[in-house]
Symmetry: C2
Subunit: 347 residues, 2 copies
DNA sequence: TTATTTTGTTTAATCGATTAAGCAAATGGA
DNA sequence: TCCATTTGCTTAATCGATTAAACAAAATAA
């Protein structure tokens, strides 16, 4: 196998300098006034030799890699794979390549990834931030590396952010439970400093207030652990079970649950199923996000669906934008779609 | 912002040549007999300047990128995200970076991706092949680029392959339906030249034979379109509906369905639900793969689960292996776990 | 005819690291 | 004392492309 042809080889074959070859193959023949006949011969030779430019060499010289780094929490989340799919599609159109890594919610791993990708000279980053990522964000700012945060909004951070309007979406979900006659509405979320969960809680509380219901701390359950790596979900699973058992034992009884994420809802429904609690008769349910399970559950789950494809696409657009105009700081809050199933009873 | 420090800067600061700096920072001080005191000063300077090597330059020189390319069908498939997660975890351990792209089952896109990743000089590839990928496989062979195929086994191809034993898994699934008293067992799959689906069919047929049931072409439904990009699933959805309607109208009646993939099962169950067909009383169900929905369905679905994490991990191991010993051609067929739900009735 | 502009091409530096080969000084052996 | 080794470091080529600057030849202007 002869090794890959380089510019030099084409130059040699045609009998010109590499400069000319470079000009022609980059379609600069006009500006650089390359002879028509020579240009044609160069193209021919390039085709004959099956030439493809060495991107590494090009990157070294131009310090542009045409690559963007994507740091997600866990590719196995529906949110993540949905958004990632859209990111990649958008990048493919723009001729960008995607390097990907997942933090698994671990700040140390997150930090390593940021540095790794920066060392690999990505032109920009799309990041699902973890807790305690202020240092890395600062690092990116200092080094003037364009980036966009998605999904979560870390506190006290200036940056491009693409997310959804969590307050509004949560408000709508909780209010729907109230409107369908529920009075003791529980909120099950993760314990986390991430602003998006805090905002979902705010939306929930606002809805209660609007419906004239008084908040009850006993109805708010915040699960300590994020779903750990590698399917070892035991801890979360157990805590969710406990939370639901607690809720069901309350008096006055809890009559409905608003799950702040799809993963929590799936865990919760599994347990509710095992306990043979009828939905929506005994317990009304609303969840955030999407899951195949929500439609196939005997009682289709009412839920707020995030526009995953939009988030991904807009994240890429915004990133490309900042790459050209580094000063722009965009904050985009997208709306969610509210899908009414049967898990809250009839309206 | 001062620009990133290079080897040259360290050399200047310490007052030595870049060669020495390179030796020290690559821990070759012993072989290259670098003075102890100088070595220490070099390390100190590197730390002071916050030096990180420019991977691009290193790659250009060594023509190793420490990057592997992953080409999948669709990251939003559970199979894909599960395997990808394991691939990335393994790569992180070995200090490899993952570049990722999805073919969306489109041979043209697949071909473009292969060339793109090869141009980016990936050290190796992990690939979920599409139909008609013989040309690209040959290309990789010709250029001596190490790669591993996963999930699907294209016909007439010599390569490292990590997959599951589809015949065996399908055989077991179909046989389970027979053992639970079903006599008119349908097989719903995709129409595709991919060998793994063909093998699942073979397993199904073998099980029928073993159970003394005669195969009936009317019970075999092969859906034409793969799930198209971007959630536009209408065509597949409609076809699945039609297939199930057809099956239910048969006489003698079809009493059970074996779905060859999770996506088909989810589509199918949605329709079965809408028709209020009771599972397992009227219709026994077995599926391939996993879905959150299978557990939350009112009647937990009996299924064969692929060892996604193992597939990913072994794919990486095998790839690293071939990178060092290019001649090895491994073919690994993993076993599947058979999870008995309630969708076939009692044993 | 000479000066100027235009056209077409080459030269050579550069990006940042790696690494074979070369060289000088110190050490050791006879 | 003289030659051979060892030690410690530098030089310079290289990977493959980009691109400013220099240059020569031809065309045009004066």
């Amino acid at each position: 196998m002869p090794k890959r042809a380089a510019l030099k080889d084409i130059a040699q074959k045609v009998g010109v300098s590499t400069a000319l070859v470079s000009y022609v193959l980059n379609n600069q023949e006009e500006e650089k006034r390359v002879g028509k006949e020579i240009a044609a011969r160069i193209r021919q030779a390039a085709a004959d030799l099956n030439y493809t430019p060495n991107q590494i060499a090009r990157s070294l010289k131009t310090s542009k890699t045409h690559t963007i780094g994507v740091i997600v929490a866990d590719i196995h989340y529906r949110f993540t794979s949905g958004v990632t799919k859209a990111i990649e599609a958008a990048c493919q159109q723009l001729n960008y390549t995607v390097i990907y890594g997942s933090s698994n919610e671990d700040p140390a791993k997150f930090a390593r990834l940021v540095h790794l990708l920066v060392d690999r000279q990505v032109d920009g980053l799309i990041i699902v931030p973890v807790m305690d990522c202020k240092k890395e964000i600062d690092y990116l700012h200092r080094h003037e590396i364009p980036f966009v945060l998605i999904d979560r909004i870390p506190p006290n951070v200036e940056a491009n952010i693409i997310s959804i309007d969590n307050v509004k979406a949560a408000h709508r979900s909780a209010l729907h439970l109230a409107k369908t006659g529920h009075r003791r509405i529980a909120f099950v979320s993760y314990q986390s400093g991430l602003l998006n969960l805090a905002e979902r809680k705010n939306g929930y509380l606002a809805a209660l207030a609007e419906a004239g219901l008084s908040p009850d701390p006993a109805l708010i359950k915040e699960i300590a652990g994020r779903r750990p790596a590698d399917g070892v979900t035991d801890r979360v699973t157990d805590e969710v079970k406990q939370a639901i058992d607690d809720l069901l034992a309350l008096s006055p009884a809890c009559d409905s649950i608003f799950f702040a994420t799809d993963t929590l809802a799936v865990e919760g429904l599994r347990h509710i199923n095992a306990l043979h609690i009828p939905v929506p008769e005994r317990l009304g349910i609303v969840s955030f996000d999407e899951s195949e399970a929500f439609e196939l559950f005997y009682c289709p789950i009412t839920r707020g669906r995030q526009p995953l494809a939009d988030i991904g696409r807009i994240a890429v657009d915004t990133l490309i934008d900042t790459m050209h105009h580094p000063t722009t700081k965009k904050k985009v809050l997208l709306g969610t779609e509210f899908i009414i199933g049967k898990s809250c009873g009839e309206t």
